[in-house]
Symmetry: C2
Subunit: 571 residues, 2 copies
């Protein structure tokens, strides 16, 4: 299906917007009126620019407060028709009236819209009537369809907008009652599930499909079942996107439509971590931590300044590149690395160009929006990154595998990151949490793969002030108390100190366990099981956590996160 986006969805001037939208591969645009009014180019020139970029102008919007008024006002509409003719836009969006002067009279609304459509038809223009969720009398899509049916004019149809429909209720099956030739346009937007004034929700928090909590695939299936085959058009008002780079937002928008359409390459989901890579000019700190945790240096890269450290199925590469220590790459185990790469590329992930020496394994890797390199590997087969290393000592110890990876996102790219990891890696997002830090709030969302072997946590500092929180690798351990005891004895100063007051509170909540206090281990419990955690100090932008899951505990110790964040700040 043709893919479109409203110009209001991305930042910048109208010409910047058109350039960015075209570069992301869209077929057309809706021109948001304010973008035209603020543009120094005449409509004819905007039309030419769009055509040169291969973009059709699908709709001009919005035209407000027209129908069901005590008096019919066609003067304003005639002005708009002239602008649309100059612009080459053949469809006008009329939003349901919000004026206090509007009458609750469907017959009158239909009569006035019929006259408007008739005038529009004289200019070769059609009119799409949309029920705003906060319309004064018309706020339901079936009500707008009733009025269109009453008006009964070939140039008048409805515009369906997923936000206006899904914000009022989860079941849009009534869409199937509307004949396809009367659905003139389809606008798509997702949104987080928020309990707030619907107008504010719409104007500030909309996001692209797959970034919020609405069932957009279900919604689209009803619209397709009705027979609609027109464009899929994104209309998103979002405070973050308004400030972000337009080209980046447009790519994010396109990725959301590809995923929604189910048009991505259908590779199997990754089912485990193959490795994590730390980069840095000086990696002595992380190396000492790995050695203390019982990792063994098991290989050296043939051509790169990189070492492989292993224990159980946990593999960490130390790659001497870049500046301060950071989490540079993650490797994911997948049944078909080439297929996973094709899936990522079909979702507009840039493949990683890397010079390969002869004899090195082929690379299947892309760069995520946050700069993390994502490798697809099959460690059981002679492929992937593992094989470039000359193996040495066999690994063994209490650490069994990588439990999860926590990545950090700048505050205004959280939605983009979430969609990327969700669509490319088929991870399912869990509930979003807010964690107090001494200098702000951290928003955190865990994402899990279908088989449970891939767990990731996306963290974002709420706004800019506090700087980016650190990234981390969480290692799974089968006897964390023993490990902590050994580390305390043999490596004083390696672990993050936990305040004693925490243990007083823990005793109040769960009963006293003096060993936890002595070892500096954090504890959580829920109905499914128990969780133990310890942290090493931060090196550069990265630290290592060790966790032990006891029973069926599936969480990440959220109750302990404020303690950890404050302790890290104290260092």
């Amino acid at each position: 299906m043709r893919k479109c986006v409203a110009t209001v969805s991305v930042s910048g001037t109208l010409t910047d917007k058109l350039d960015a939208i075209a570069a992301a591969g869209f077929d057309g645009v809706e021109i948001f009126e304010n973008d035209l009014l603020t543009c120094p180019l005449p409509p004819e020139e905007v039309r030419r620019r769009a055509a040169d970029l291969g973009l059709s102008i699908e709709m001009y919007q919005p035209f407000r407060d027209f129908e069901a008024m005590p008096e019919l006002d066609l003067r304003r509409a005639e002005h708009k028709f002239r602008v649309m003719e100059r612009l080459g836009a053949g469809l006008l969006l009329v939003c349901s009236n919000v004026s206090p002067r509007a009458l609750d009279d469907d017959e009158l609304a239909a009569e006035q819209l019929r006259i408007l459509a008739d005038r529009a038809a004289g200019h070769g223009i059609r009119v799409a009537y949309e029920a705003l969720a906060w319309g004064r009398h018309v706020h339901d899509y079936l009500h707008s369809w009733r009025i269109v049916r009453l008006a009964d004019h070939p140039a008048l149809g409805v515009c369906l907008d997923s936000f206006h429909i899904l914000s009022r209720g989860p079941d849009p099956i009534g869409v199937e009652a509307i004949p396809a030739d009367k659905i003139f346009f389809l606008q798509l937007a997702d949104a987080p599930i928020l309990a707030m004034d619907v107008l504010q929700w719409s104007r500030h928090y909309r996001c692209f499909p797959g970034q919020g909590g609405f069932d957009l695939p279900g919604f689209l299936s009803h619209v397709l079942a009705a027979g609609y085959r027109g464009p899929l058009s994104l209309e998103v008002f979002n405070d973050h996107f308004r400030q972000a780079d337009a080209r980046r937002t447009a790519v994010d928008a396109m990725r959301s439509l590809i995923a929604l359409e189910g048009a991505a390459h259908p590779a199997a989901a990754p089912d485990g971590f193959a490795f994590a890579e730390l980069t840095g000019a000086d990696l002595d700190g992380p190396r000492a931590v790995l050695a203390a945790l019982g990792f063994t240096r098991s290989g050296t890269h043939g051509t790169e300044p990189a070492e492989l450290w292993e224990q159980g199925r946990a593999r960490i590469v130390l790659n001497h590149t870049g500046q301060a220590p950071a989490l540079g790459a993650i490797g994911l185990e997948t049944p078909d690395p080439a297929g996973s790469l094709r899936r990522a590329e079909s979702l507009i992930a840039p493949p990683l160009p890397r010079e390969r020496a002869p004899g090195e394994a082929p690379i299947h890797a892309v760069t995520a929006p946050d700069g993390t390199q994502v490798f697809f590997c099959r460690t059981a087969q002679p492929y992937g990154r593992r094989e470039d290393f000359t193996p040495a000592a066999p690994p063994a110890g209490p650490i069994t595998h990588i439990d999860h990876i926590a990545l950090t996102q700048p505050w205004h790219h959280f939605e983009e990151a979430e969609l990327f990891y969700r669509s490319v890696l088929r991870l399912r997002p869990q509930e979003s949490l807010e964690v107090p830090d001494p200098y702000g709030l951290l928003r955190s969302r865990a994402m899990t793969g279908p088989a449970g072997g891939v767990r990731m946590v996306l963290n974002v500092a709420q706004v800019g002030g506090a700087g980016l929180p650190a990234q981390h690798i969480a290692l799974a351990c089968d006897d964390l108390r023993a490990l902590a005891r050994r580390l305390r004895a043999e490596h004083p100063g390696l672990l993050l100190p936990i305040p004693a007051n925490y243990y007083d509170d823990l005793a109040a909540r769960h009963g006293a366990d003096p060993e936890l206090r002595e070892l500096g281990v954090l504890y959580d419990r829920d109905e499914d099981g128990e969780f133990l955690q310890l942290y090493t100090l931060t090196h550069g932008r990265v630290f290592i956590e060790v966790v032990q899951r006891i029973g069926g505990y599936q969480g990440y110790g959220a109750a302990n996160a404020p303690i950890r964040l404050a302790a890290q700040r104290a260092h």
Copy 2:
């Protein structure tokens, strides 16, 4: 009355918070539990620190989900009592239960709270019971008082929180029904009027009294009428304050309480602008604009590199100091400059230290939180800044006075700036607006003095991305069309170009007026009158607007603001 603040209201570690709170002159604190848990110091040391800083620990909070449970759990409470004894805190806040396990049984709630209070009394501790606005069964303050009355224990009283009460309704007169000796504590918070989930509203948007939309003076008067004479304590959860400098927030907090108590020096409000001062190393641009607008250089400062430009009652000082051109100072006409200065100082505004040459007029000036210098002057008398200038040519022309001044605030200091201008200058805030800019949203709030002679607009870029918008001086003109005609003819390139598409839309809305298009003048109209606007280009961080108010128009041309912002971006 004693002034307190909850540690959660400011950023940082617990010791940072205590330092900042003491430095702002508070008498005591509520210790928020999470701040203690994350603190590496034992409670005894926190107690000593607070005492050394002259701060009492008034309350420990919150204790959750205790009352009306199927089983009585005193173990957790006994732990808290021990912590409180170490901390030296004599009052525990118990919030109404939010657990789904809580029973809707006032008798049971009262019975369990009575037992809790009795145990507390054994430790010399009292218990304050508070109805959370989102409590499961108890969410009204009179309901919490009913339960306290049923429990009937001397160590049990209520805690009244203005947010929990005013978020549920505007009339708190029932407070007067509670005996003063049963109101154990008073927590104060304001909030903007938002239609959203009350828990999210409370946790993210609370602000200090005078920064939101609640009637805090009315609320306080009821509590005082009930006979309460305990501390006034601020408890504010705010996403901006969490990230701001703790010392600055604490001063802001103290200012809010001084203003709320009516303890500021009662000087008369300013009633007009005496002058505006532009600073900059190179002021040739603004000087040329002033000359083109018909201003006359009417004086030179005796000792400073400053010139006075005048026309009508509009006075602009060009002061050759600083870097890029900016709005450095505003002068306000006030009947009693020394009294106005005393008022500002009583609201913790730092007085402006400035070396005065012999014979110069005395200065009555303070620095606002945004760095703007605010002078109090009486131009009709031999006082204030005006008299330091040697007068030259007499001023005359179409510009009559300064209509308003628009100042720019960093996004995380908007509440502070609003309270400062509101309390120090007695300005009344009008509705807050959001204006789309090509790279974000601008939040804008006009404030007007009681006599109408002082109008200010506070603008803030919604978050950091787009940078600070420019400040401006808006000059009132009695024939803006004539002025624009002359400027177009004699000074091409001086005015901000306005896109032609704007005039097509204006014609659709208000009818065609070809002269406006030709002159590049912006237009607005409402039921009270008409408004004309033009803008000069921006120099450094500042530009000049000229406005003409026709009839009773009181606005600022909000509908035109997106056009102006986009046009400024285009330059």
